[in-house]
Protein backbone atom coordinates (compact mmCIF):
# COMPACT_ATOMS: atom_id res chain seq x y z
CA UNK A 1 0.00 0.00 0.00
CA UNK A 2 2.83 2.36 0.87
CA UNK A 3 4.57 1.43 -2.36
CA UNK A 4 1.41 2.17 -4.34
CA UNK A 5 1.02 5.51 -2.57
CA UNK A 6 4.59 6.66 -3.29
CA UNK A 7 4.16 5.49 -6.88
CA UNK A 8 0.94 7.51 -7.16
CA UNK A 9 2.47 10.68 -5.72
CA UNK A 10 5.57 10.43 -7.90
CA UNK A 11 3.98 9.70 -11.24
CA UNK A 12 0.42 11.04 -10.97
CA UNK A 13 0.64 14.02 -8.64
CA UNK A 14 4.16 15.25 -9.47
CA UNK A 15 3.89 13.94 -13.07
CA UNK A 16 7.53 12.80 -13.21
CA UNK A 17 8.65 10.66 -16.13
CA UNK A 18 8.85 7.00 -15.37
CA UNK A 19 12.27 5.38 -15.41
CA UNK A 20 14.42 8.47 -14.87
CA UNK A 21 16.96 8.77 -12.11
CA UNK A 22 15.04 11.65 -10.53
CA UNK A 23 11.65 9.94 -10.43
CA UNK A 24 13.20 6.81 -8.95
CA UNK A 25 14.88 8.89 -6.27
CA UNK A 26 11.68 10.79 -5.47
CA UNK A 27 9.63 7.60 -5.22
CA UNK A 28 12.25 6.03 -2.97
CA UNK A 29 12.37 9.16 -0.81
CA UNK A 30 8.60 9.32 -0.30
CA UNK A 31 8.34 5.61 0.42
CA UNK A 32 11.24 5.54 2.88
CA UNK A 33 10.19 8.71 4.67
CA UNK A 34 6.69 7.44 5.37
CA UNK A 35 7.92 3.97 6.29
CA UNK A 36 10.57 5.16 8.72
CA UNK A 37 8.40 7.79 10.40
CA UNK A 38 5.61 5.23 10.86
CA UNK A 39 8.08 2.75 12.34
CA UNK A 40 9.63 5.42 14.57
CA UNK A 41 6.29 6.67 15.89
CA UNK A 42 4.89 3.23 16.66
CA UNK A 43 8.04 1.80 18.20
CA UNK A 44 9.00 4.87 20.24
CA UNK A 45 5.44 4.94 21.56
CA UNK A 46 5.51 1.27 22.57
CA UNK A 47 8.97 1.59 24.12
CA UNK A 48 7.82 4.72 25.99
CA UNK A 49 4.95 2.79 27.55
CA UNK A 50 7.41 0.08 28.67
CA UNK A 51 9.73 2.86 29.81
CA UNK A 52 7.09 4.32 32.12
CA UNK A 53 7.43 1.12 34.17
CA UNK A 54 11.19 1.58 34.56
CA UNK A 55 12.03 5.03 35.89
CA UNK A 56 15.71 5.30 36.89
CA UNK A 57 14.71 5.02 40.57
CA UNK A 58 13.27 1.57 39.96
CA UNK A 59 16.24 0.48 37.84
CA UNK A 60 18.49 1.56 40.70
CA UNK A 61 16.56 -0.62 43.16
CA UNK A 62 16.64 -3.59 40.78
CA UNK A 63 20.41 -3.29 40.32
CA UNK A 64 21.46 -2.53 43.86
CA UNK A 65 23.57 -5.27 45.44
CA UNK A 66 23.17 -7.45 42.34
CA UNK A 67 25.96 -9.88 41.74
CA UNK A 68 28.26 -9.17 38.84
CA UNK A 69 27.57 -10.93 35.55
CA UNK A 70 23.79 -11.19 36.22
CA UNK A 71 23.94 -7.55 37.25
CA UNK A 72 25.85 -6.57 34.10
CA UNK A 73 23.35 -8.34 31.85
CA UNK A 74 20.38 -6.76 33.65
CA UNK A 75 22.02 -3.33 33.59
CA UNK A 76 22.67 -3.51 29.85
CA UNK A 77 19.07 -4.59 29.20
CA UNK A 78 17.61 -1.94 31.51
CA UNK A 79 19.79 0.59 29.71
CA UNK A 80 17.55 0.12 26.66
CA UNK A 81 14.32 0.98 28.45
CA UNK A 82 15.37 3.34 31.22
CA UNK A 83 15.09 6.96 30.11
CA UNK A 84 18.46 8.60 30.44
CA UNK A 85 20.27 11.58 29.01
CA UNK A 86 23.98 12.16 29.38
CA UNK A 87 23.24 15.45 31.18
CA UNK A 88 21.96 13.30 34.07
CA UNK A 89 24.98 10.97 34.07
CA UNK A 90 26.46 12.43 37.26
CA UNK A 91 23.44 12.33 39.59
CA UNK A 92 22.61 8.90 38.18
CA UNK A 93 26.14 7.62 38.79
CA UNK A 94 26.14 8.94 42.37
CA UNK A 95 22.65 7.56 42.99
CA UNK A 96 23.65 4.12 41.72
CA UNK A 97 26.86 3.96 43.75
CA UNK A 98 25.06 5.21 46.86
CA UNK A 99 22.39 2.52 46.46
CA UNK A 100 25.08 -0.18 46.33
CA UNK A 101 25.04 -0.89 42.60
CA UNK A 102 28.50 -2.38 41.83
CA UNK A 103 30.81 -0.12 39.79
CA UNK A 104 31.03 -2.49 36.81
CA UNK A 105 27.24 -2.88 36.73
CA UNK A 106 26.84 0.92 36.79
CA UNK A 107 29.16 1.14 33.79
CA UNK A 108 27.23 -1.52 31.87
CA UNK A 109 24.19 0.72 32.27
CA UNK A 110 26.02 3.92 31.34
CA UNK A 111 27.40 2.27 28.19
CA UNK A 112 24.25 0.58 26.99
CA UNK A 113 21.85 3.45 27.59
CA UNK A 114 23.04 5.97 24.98
CA UNK A 115 24.28 3.33 22.51
CA UNK A 116 21.46 0.80 22.39
CA UNK A 117 18.07 2.44 22.15
CA UNK A 118 14.90 2.21 20.17
CA UNK A 119 15.74 5.13 17.89
CA UNK A 120 19.00 3.51 16.77
CA UNK A 121 17.37 0.13 16.25
CA UNK A 122 14.39 1.50 14.30
CA UNK A 123 16.56 3.63 12.04
CA UNK A 124 18.89 0.72 11.28
CA UNK A 125 15.88 -1.51 10.67
CA UNK A 126 14.17 0.98 8.36
CA UNK A 127 17.28 1.82 6.35
CA UNK A 128 19.26 -1.43 6.32
CA UNK A 129 16.83 -4.17 7.31
CA UNK A 130 16.06 -6.04 10.51
CA UNK A 131 19.18 -8.22 10.42
CA UNK A 132 21.55 -5.30 10.81
CA UNK A 133 19.27 -3.77 13.47
CA UNK A 134 19.38 -7.03 15.44
CA UNK A 135 23.15 -7.35 15.03
CA UNK A 136 23.59 -3.82 16.35
CA UNK A 137 21.26 -4.50 19.28
CA UNK A 138 23.01 -7.76 20.16
CA UNK A 139 26.57 -6.54 19.84
CA UNK A 140 25.75 -3.26 21.60
CA UNK A 141 24.49 -5.23 24.60
CA UNK A 142 27.52 -7.51 24.41
CA UNK A 143 29.94 -4.54 24.46
CA UNK A 144 28.10 -3.02 27.44
CA UNK A 145 28.10 -6.31 29.38
CA UNK A 146 31.75 -7.15 28.62
CA UNK A 147 33.17 -3.69 29.28
CA UNK A 148 31.20 -3.45 32.55
CA UNK A 149 32.38 -6.89 33.66
CA UNK A 150 36.03 -6.06 32.97
CA UNK A 151 35.77 -2.78 34.91
CA UNK A 152 34.13 -4.72 37.76
CA UNK A 153 36.85 -7.39 37.79
CA UNK A 154 39.62 -4.79 37.87
CA UNK A 155 38.29 -3.44 41.20
CA UNK A 156 38.72 0.21 40.36
CA UNK A 157 36.56 1.68 43.11
CA UNK A 158 39.63 3.57 44.38
CA UNK A 159 39.50 5.70 41.25
CA UNK A 160 36.02 6.99 41.96
CA UNK A 161 36.08 10.51 43.43
CA UNK A 162 35.96 10.22 47.23
CA UNK A 163 33.08 12.64 47.66
CA UNK A 164 30.80 10.26 45.77
CA UNK A 165 31.00 7.81 48.67
CA UNK A 166 30.27 10.49 51.26
CA UNK A 167 26.96 11.51 49.73
CA UNK A 168 24.13 10.04 51.69
CA UNK A 169 20.68 10.20 50.28
CA UNK A 170 18.12 12.19 52.25
CA UNK A 171 15.84 9.21 51.73
CA UNK A 172 13.10 11.09 49.98
CA UNK A 173 10.42 8.86 48.64
CA UNK A 174 9.47 9.37 45.06
CA UNK A 175 5.79 9.92 44.53
CA UNK A 176 3.60 9.14 41.59
CA UNK A 177 4.21 5.41 41.59
CA UNK A 178 0.47 4.94 41.22
CA UNK A 179 0.26 5.81 37.56
CA UNK A 180 -2.87 4.85 35.74
CA UNK A 181 -2.58 3.31 32.30
CA UNK A 182 -3.92 6.55 30.87
CA UNK A 183 -1.02 8.41 32.55
CA UNK A 184 1.41 6.01 30.87
CA UNK A 185 -0.17 6.57 27.47
CA UNK A 186 -0.01 10.34 27.98
CA UNK A 187 3.63 10.05 29.01
CA UNK A 188 4.34 7.90 25.96
CA UNK A 189 2.69 10.44 23.68
CA UNK A 190 4.68 13.32 25.15
CA UNK A 191 7.89 11.29 24.96
CA UNK A 192 7.29 10.19 21.37
CA UNK A 193 6.61 13.78 20.34
CA UNK A 194 9.76 15.01 22.08
CA UNK A 195 11.99 12.38 20.47
CA UNK A 196 10.51 12.88 17.00
CA UNK A 197 11.05 16.64 17.31
CA UNK A 198 14.67 15.93 18.11
CA UNK A 199 15.40 13.44 15.34
CA UNK A 200 13.17 14.24 12.35
CA UNK A 201 15.73 16.43 10.61
CA UNK A 202 18.47 13.79 10.83
CA UNK A 203 16.10 11.18 9.49
CA UNK A 204 15.25 13.38 6.51
CA UNK A 205 18.93 13.95 5.82
CA UNK A 206 19.64 10.22 6.04
CA UNK A 207 16.85 9.34 3.66
CA UNK A 208 17.85 12.22 1.41
CA UNK A 209 21.37 10.83 1.18
CA UNK A 210 19.93 7.44 0.33
CA UNK A 211 17.55 8.85 -2.24
CA UNK A 212 19.68 11.39 -4.04
CA UNK A 213 23.38 10.74 -3.60
CA UNK A 214 22.57 7.11 -4.32
CA UNK A 215 23.92 6.44 -7.75
CA UNK A 216 25.75 9.73 -8.15
CA UNK A 217 29.08 8.93 -6.50
CA UNK A 218 30.96 5.73 -7.36
CA UNK A 219 29.69 2.98 -5.08
CA UNK A 220 33.09 1.57 -4.39
CA UNK A 221 34.66 4.89 -3.48
CA UNK A 222 35.11 3.97 0.19
CA UNK A 223 35.34 0.26 -0.49
CA UNK A 224 38.73 0.88 -2.04
CA UNK A 225 40.03 2.53 1.12
CA UNK A 226 37.88 1.21 3.93
CA UNK A 227 36.60 -2.09 2.60
CA UNK A 228 37.14 -5.55 3.93
CA UNK A 229 40.68 -5.81 2.65
CA UNK A 230 42.03 -2.93 4.70
CA UNK A 231 42.93 -4.20 8.18
CA UNK A 232 43.26 -0.66 9.53
CA UNK A 233 39.77 0.43 8.52
CA UNK A 234 38.11 -0.60 11.81
CA UNK A 235 40.59 1.02 14.24
CA UNK A 236 40.66 4.12 12.06
CA UNK A 237 36.84 4.39 12.00
CA UNK A 238 36.75 3.97 15.79
CA UNK A 239 39.53 6.51 16.33
CA UNK A 240 37.55 9.03 14.29
CA UNK A 241 34.30 8.13 16.04
CA UNK A 242 35.42 8.34 19.67
CA UNK A 243 35.80 12.12 20.03
CA UNK A 244 32.76 12.81 17.83
CA UNK A 245 29.57 13.38 19.72
CA UNK A 246 26.13 12.61 18.49
CA UNK A 247 23.04 10.70 19.44
CA UNK A 248 22.04 7.65 17.43
CA UNK A 249 19.80 9.65 15.10
CA UNK A 250 22.49 12.21 14.32
CA UNK A 251 25.03 9.64 13.25
CA UNK A 252 22.61 7.74 10.99
CA UNK A 253 23.00 10.02 7.93
CA UNK A 254 26.77 9.53 8.06
CA UNK A 255 26.38 5.80 8.58
CA UNK A 256 24.04 5.62 5.62
CA UNK A 257 26.45 7.48 3.38
CA UNK A 258 29.37 5.27 4.47
CA UNK A 259 27.42 2.06 3.82
CA UNK A 260 26.18 3.29 0.44
CA UNK A 261 29.72 3.99 -0.63
CA UNK A 262 30.97 0.57 0.21
CA UNK A 263 32.36 0.67 3.73
CA UNK A 264 31.94 -2.79 5.21
CA UNK A 265 29.29 -3.47 7.82
CA UNK A 266 31.58 -4.22 10.77
CA UNK A 267 33.50 -1.00 10.21
CA UNK A 268 30.28 1.01 10.00
CA UNK A 269 28.79 -0.55 13.15
CA UNK A 270 32.04 0.05 15.04
CA UNK A 271 32.00 3.68 13.91
CA UNK A 272 28.40 4.13 15.02
CA UNK A 273 29.10 2.58 18.43
CA UNK A 274 32.17 4.73 18.95
CA UNK A 275 30.21 7.90 18.17
CA UNK A 276 27.21 7.12 20.38
CA UNK A 277 28.94 5.41 23.32
CA UNK A 278 32.08 7.49 23.71
CA UNK A 279 32.37 11.23 23.41
CA UNK A 280 34.42 14.10 24.69
CA UNK A 281 31.49 15.88 26.43
CA UNK A 282 30.49 12.64 28.16
CA UNK A 283 34.04 12.13 29.42
CA UNK A 284 34.12 15.67 30.78
CA UNK A 285 30.85 14.97 32.60
CA UNK A 286 32.08 11.61 33.94
CA UNK A 287 35.33 13.24 35.08
CA UNK A 288 33.26 14.90 37.84
CA UNK A 289 32.74 11.52 39.49
CA UNK A 290 35.67 9.38 38.40
CA UNK A 291 39.41 10.01 38.35
CA UNK A 292 41.48 10.18 35.19
CA UNK A 293 42.96 6.63 35.44
CA UNK A 294 39.47 5.10 35.52
CA UNK A 295 38.40 7.33 32.66
CA UNK A 296 41.41 6.10 30.65
CA UNK A 297 40.63 2.47 31.51
CA UNK A 298 36.99 2.97 30.54
CA UNK A 299 37.80 4.53 27.17
CA UNK A 300 40.49 1.92 26.41
CA UNK A 301 38.28 -1.05 27.21
CA UNK A 302 35.44 0.40 25.15
CA UNK A 303 37.73 1.14 22.21
CA UNK A 304 39.19 -2.38 22.22
CA UNK A 305 35.78 -4.09 22.52
CA UNK A 306 34.25 -1.97 19.78
CA UNK A 307 37.18 -2.68 17.46
CA UNK A 308 36.81 -6.40 18.20
CA UNK A 309 33.11 -6.24 17.27
CA UNK A 310 34.02 -4.48 14.04
CA UNK A 311 36.52 -7.16 13.05
CA UNK A 312 34.10 -9.90 14.02
CA UNK A 313 31.41 -8.66 11.67
CA UNK A 314 33.78 -7.91 8.85
CA UNK A 315 34.96 -11.50 9.15
CA UNK A 316 31.56 -13.22 9.21
CA UNK A 317 29.41 -11.07 6.91
Amino acid sequence: MLKAFSHYVTYSLLKLDNGTRLSGAVEFFIYDTIKIFLLLSVIIFVVSVIRSFFPPERTKRILSHKREFIGNILAALLGIVTPFCSCSAVPLFIGFVEAGVPLGVTFSFLISSPMVNEVAVVLLWGLFGWKIALIYLGTGLLVAILAGMIIGKLKLEKWVEEYVYTIKSLGMAAEGARQTFRDRLLYARANTREILQKVWLYVFIAIGIGGFIHGYAPDDFLARYAGNNNPFAVPLAVAIGVPLYSNAAGVIPIVYALMEKGMSIGTVLAFMMAVTALSLPEMIILRKVIKIPLLVVFVSIMTVTIIAVGYLFNAII
Binding site: P55, P56, E57, I94, G95, F96, M172, G176
Partner: protein, 80 residues
Protein backbone atom coordinates in the same frame (compact mmCIF):
# COMPACT_ATOMS: atom_id res chain seq x y z
CA UNK B 1 5.61 25.73 51.29
CA UNK B 2 9.00 24.93 49.82
CA UNK B 3 9.44 24.04 46.17
CA UNK B 4 12.80 22.86 44.89
CA UNK B 5 13.78 22.70 41.25
CA UNK B 6 16.85 20.50 40.76
CA UNK B 7 19.03 20.57 37.68
CA UNK B 8 22.58 21.50 36.70
CA UNK B 9 21.46 24.13 34.20
CA UNK B 10 20.29 22.45 31.05
CA UNK B 11 17.55 24.01 28.91
CA UNK B 12 14.90 21.75 30.37
CA UNK B 13 15.94 22.68 33.91
CA UNK B 14 15.29 26.36 33.14
CA UNK B 15 11.92 25.47 31.67
CA UNK B 16 11.10 23.47 34.79
CA UNK B 17 11.92 26.45 36.98
CA UNK B 18 9.72 28.72 34.85
CA UNK B 19 6.88 26.18 35.07
CA UNK B 20 7.16 26.04 38.85
CA UNK B 21 7.19 29.85 39.20
CA UNK B 22 4.30 30.23 36.78
CA UNK B 23 2.27 27.60 38.66
CA UNK B 24 2.93 29.30 42.02
CA UNK B 25 1.89 32.64 40.56
CA UNK B 26 -1.29 31.35 39.01
CA UNK B 27 -2.26 29.50 42.18
CA UNK B 28 -1.36 32.47 44.34
CA UNK B 29 0.38 29.99 46.61
CA UNK B 30 2.69 31.13 49.40
CA UNK B 31 5.74 29.24 48.29
CA UNK B 32 9.47 29.72 47.83
CA UNK B 33 10.92 28.34 44.63
CA UNK B 34 14.54 27.32 45.20
CA UNK B 35 16.86 26.26 42.40
CA UNK B 36 19.46 23.61 43.25
CA UNK B 37 22.26 23.28 40.72
CA UNK B 38 24.98 21.48 42.67
CA UNK B 39 25.36 17.93 41.36
CA UNK B 40 26.10 16.46 44.78
CA UNK B 41 23.06 18.18 46.24
CA UNK B 42 20.89 16.95 43.38
CA UNK B 43 22.04 13.37 43.95
CA UNK B 44 21.54 13.73 47.69
CA UNK B 45 17.90 14.55 47.11
CA UNK B 46 17.49 11.26 45.32
CA UNK B 47 17.01 12.76 41.86
CA UNK B 48 18.50 10.43 39.23
CA UNK B 49 17.39 12.21 36.11
CA UNK B 50 17.10 15.95 35.83
CA UNK B 51 15.22 18.19 36.02
CA UNK B 52 13.61 17.28 39.33
CA UNK B 53 10.76 18.91 41.22
CA UNK B 54 10.40 18.52 44.97
CA UNK B 55 7.45 19.97 46.88
CA UNK B 56 7.60 19.95 50.67
CA UNK B 57 10.24 17.24 50.67
CA UNK B 58 8.42 14.93 48.28
CA UNK B 59 9.78 14.11 44.82
CA UNK B 60 6.98 15.04 42.45
CA UNK B 61 8.76 14.76 39.16
CA UNK B 62 12.12 13.81 37.68
CA UNK B 63 13.41 13.59 34.14
CA UNK B 64 12.03 14.30 30.72
CA UNK B 65 9.54 14.99 29.25
CA UNK B 66 8.51 17.89 31.45
CA UNK B 67 5.09 17.89 33.07
CA UNK B 68 2.47 20.33 31.79
CA UNK B 69 1.68 23.53 33.70
CA UNK B 70 -1.61 21.96 34.81
CA UNK B 71 0.24 18.94 36.21
CA UNK B 72 2.68 21.15 38.09
CA UNK B 73 -0.25 23.07 39.59
CA UNK B 74 -1.81 19.80 40.73
CA UNK B 75 1.49 18.72 42.30
CA UNK B 76 1.68 21.96 44.24
CA UNK B 77 -2.01 21.92 45.21
CA UNK B 78 -1.74 18.39 46.59
CA UNK B 79 0.78 19.66 49.15
CA UNK B 80 -0.97 22.90 50.02
Amino acid sequence: MEIKVLGPGCANCHKMEELARQAVKELGAAADVVKITDIGQIAMHGILSTPGLIVNGKIKHSGKPLPTLEKVKEMIKSEA
